[in-house]
Symmetry: C2
Subunit: 492 residues, 2 copies
């Protein structure tokens, strides 16, 4: 039986009207009362352009207070929020828009051209610039939500290169936020710095969690190591979520200590290079590694701050929002399986992918890890082939398909090679017996793929190493590419 | 869709094995690892006597570590815990046992005679003395529970005088505990003093909540004001739940200040007399009034500690685990309606009562209250006629039925009159035109009713004041009884 959950923003606007909900830069913060008022106005704006309950509201926009307001406004009309990745190309966005079929697309000034192109490609109406407000009372403002109804759809690249929309319910966010608080503790004066993109579940869940807690989110419109370091040292920020690349850049930005008010720095979104956590700890950052995924509404396991020092390298124990199993004995590696109240009900309008992802009620993450005897999880490899570069997931199949579209390329294998700054970089091995000019491949790819997916090195091979069944052995490709590209260009 | 929730005790035994789970008196506390080990042994003991998943395990026993272990053991075999009120008579207990049909009845030394009699009356096998342990591995120990499956059945007296078993699911307890933490905050060093009986939801939920949090419960086997005051002043206890009578007795026990480590004293379970909260506040107790009911798995509204001073007398705002509505405009009194993830799915094997309790998905509490413009709830009257004496609910219908069983008593009206110490005392107005000796009525009642339900005064009336429809006007009975019994005996 589902349950009705009170609307979190409404609850906090009534209970903690003067508490700062959103702090952004040097501007005055928005209180919960103000955030609610703006969200109601945008809710009326959404209703005025025809958004009804259960319909989708897509956002192609950078991080801003307006973005968070739009998210809350969408929930106030019981519609579904679909935050899209502004680093994608119009073609990639259009694919996601065709799946989501939003009633409206919202954008901001900087993303307007991209949003207009993507919407046109998907056959949708022209996007609206945020804030889409009206003073007229057009909307039926809801005060509660069914725990099983969809709050947001967050797209992840599928292994086959097709984006899948992960359905995240109100119950998923509630379970995730509760479990996170039960692990990290909860202080009414908490202030969580959000510098992860809000189209990622790791970023999006921060303002949602803060509304559930009635605490403050400090929004950074983009990750600037100096700005984050300054904020951390200001003494206000108590919690911070970063991907390993961000942590490295924070450490490299200066030589000062971080001695601060931070209770925990959650480091997730990919494997952490050895030494990075130790460096951060030595500089005074209370880092805790976390393992999460979109399908589980962010954190699945997190090291409790009290265990962080004794278990560096582990992603901690399961939170109370999900059970975690490894398909192997203690100490042996196997696929990580999860189930629980924070786990998605499936992919939007994609029953095949949903069916394939679950086995016996357990989500098969495709990630590989092992448990030690104290039930601490260590994650060895993210889903089979996925490349994680600067916190963004790149699925080789998608990049390979783009390469194979180039006349003369007969075979392609895309892999990630280790990189100190980005964790991994995307590189490609191609087979071509025609005189293909590899320099001319990149511009073609740029029109089809987001920048972070473009290989920084493309090398010609006579043949790709394959298994007896004909499957490319990416491990060998990776080794050979690493040798050939001993020095990669440093831009991404 | 239901979700699987990890077993809380198992989770904490793995994650926080050395943290104290139960502190009881001067004895050494039980760590989560030890609590789990004992619970597993009792789980095997339960399985050895035939308890399987979904079956009921009734407990007729006072507060002790064994009681809490038995509760956890029951969940480890996925059975349902049924804590019964040791203040009831064997006849009253037998009625509840006939409804619950437990596979076993557990008891302790002091309650053994009562439990044996009650079990015999209900046609059940002889109770087992706790701990019911075995070293043999008989049980299939579970590690997760369906959020919708029943954790406990807690009996409340129904308005018609028949006890109803409130089904409380794992999801109810999880939602209630999460919402309480989001309101009160959560500190890993929290220690919640439990001096409420564990057969009441207010008591039972304390060890459950503590296991969810991974924090400590300090068990007091009975409420002794001096012991509670000492514990509060020891500097260890951070949270305390009491009924108004207990708070008054704490204040009366000595004249010292309570300046302590307490974060909040939750005062619930009935109306709080004017002046009591102020007195407590002056003495240094951070009291917050709370409104809860068994059907909502304890707290529904609670004043946040930060609001307690400015809203003395209000029961605070709704927690995030339930929506609360009052069937009237702001500022006007009406029936309190609730729904949400902490609200029961219904009464055990009592579809009629379940149907009658819900309207349109909302639980009709029968309690009367009003909201102010800031959404603070003030509770005016608990369910129509219920009398709350020292935190125990007494339903007049049940006592009236017992009175009417006495030959010669033609009509009876049982009401509560205000009492400084107990909040309310039970008194009865009877009509009898035969020469009934009222002094001889009490012994008869004692064999049928728990002591706290026995009227402390029985007065003869020529006729009871009734409405035009013939319904007794309890308000007038109350006024007249209060006049006649200006001075009541002080024992209960």
């Amino acid at each position: 039986m589902s349950a009705m959950l009170p609307d979190w923003l409404t609850h906090r606007a009534r209970g903690l009207p003067r508490v700062t909900a959103i702090a952004a830069g040097r501007r005055r913060g928005l209180s919960y009362a103000a955030l609610y008022e703006y969200a109601v106005r945008q809710a009326h704006g959404l209703a005025a352009v025809g958004v009804g309950p259960g319909e989708r509201v897509a956002a192609i926009a950078g991080t801003s207070s307006d973005f968070v307001i739009a998210m809350h406004a969408t929930t106030l009309v019981d519609a579904i929020f679909v935050p899209l990745n502004v680093r994608l190309t119009a073609h990639e966005l259009a694919e996601q828009l065709r799946n989501a079929e939003p009633a409206v697309v919202l954008c901001d000034l900087h993303c307007e051209a991209l949003a207009v192109e993507a919407a046109a490609l998907a056959g949708l109406s022209k996007p609206f610039r945020m804030p889409l407000e009206t003073e007229e009372e057009k909307a039926q403002i809801v005060e509660a939500h069914d725990s099983e109804s969809c709050h947001s759809i967050v797209y992840t690249s599928g292994t086959a290169g097709h984006a899948k929309g992960v359905v995240l319910t109100y119950g998923n966010f509630w379970a995730s936020a509760s479990a996170s608080a039960l692990n990290l503790g909860l202080d009414p004066s908490d202030r969580w710095l959000a510098c992860l993109p809000l189209n990622h579940v790791g970023g999006l869940s921060i303002p949602i969690r803060s509304a559930i807690y009635g605490t403050t989110v400090e929004l950074h419109s983009r990750f600037e190591p100096d700005a984050v370091n300054r904020a951390v040292r200001s003494g206000d920020v108590t919690l911070l979520s970063v991907v390993p690349t961000m942590l490295r850049r924070m450490l490299n930005a200066d030589d000062l200590s971080f001695g601060s008010s931070l209770r925990a720095v959650l480091v997730g979104g990919g494997p952490v290079a050895p030494g990075l956590l130790e460096r951060a700890t030595e500089r005074g950052l209370p880092v805790v590694q976390t393992y999460g995924l979109t399908e589980a509404c962010s954190q699945v396991t997190t090291l409790a701050p009290s265990e962080a020092m004794s278990h560096l390298g582990s992603a901690g124990r399961a939170l109370l929002s999900a059970e975690v199993r490894v398909d192997a004995s203690v100490g042996e590696a196997g696929e990580i399986l999860i189930r629980g109240p924070a786990v998605t009900t499936g992919y939007f309008r994609n029953p095949e992918a949903t069916k394939a992802a679950f086995s016996d009620g357990w989500l098969q993450t495709g990630d590989i890890g092992f448990f030690d005897k104290d039930a601490f999880l260590t994650v060895l490899d993210r889903r089979d082939d996925v490349i994680i570069s600067g916190g963004e997931n790149v699925y080789p199949a998608e990049v390979e398909a783009a390469l194979l579209a180039y006349p003369g390329i007969e075979a392609a294998a895309v892999v990630g090679v280790s990189d100190d700054e980005w964790g991994q970089r995307v590189v490609a091995a191609v087979v071509s017996h025609l005189p293909v000019e590899l320099d001319r491949v990149e511009p073609l790819l740029r029109s089809r793929l987001a920048g972070y997916k473009i290989p920084v090195g493309i090398e010609r091979f006579d043949a790709l190493p394959t298994t007896s069944s004909g499957k490319v052995q990416r491990r060998f490709v990776r080794q050979q590419m690493a040798k050939r590209l001993a020095k990669l260009p440093s831009k991404q």
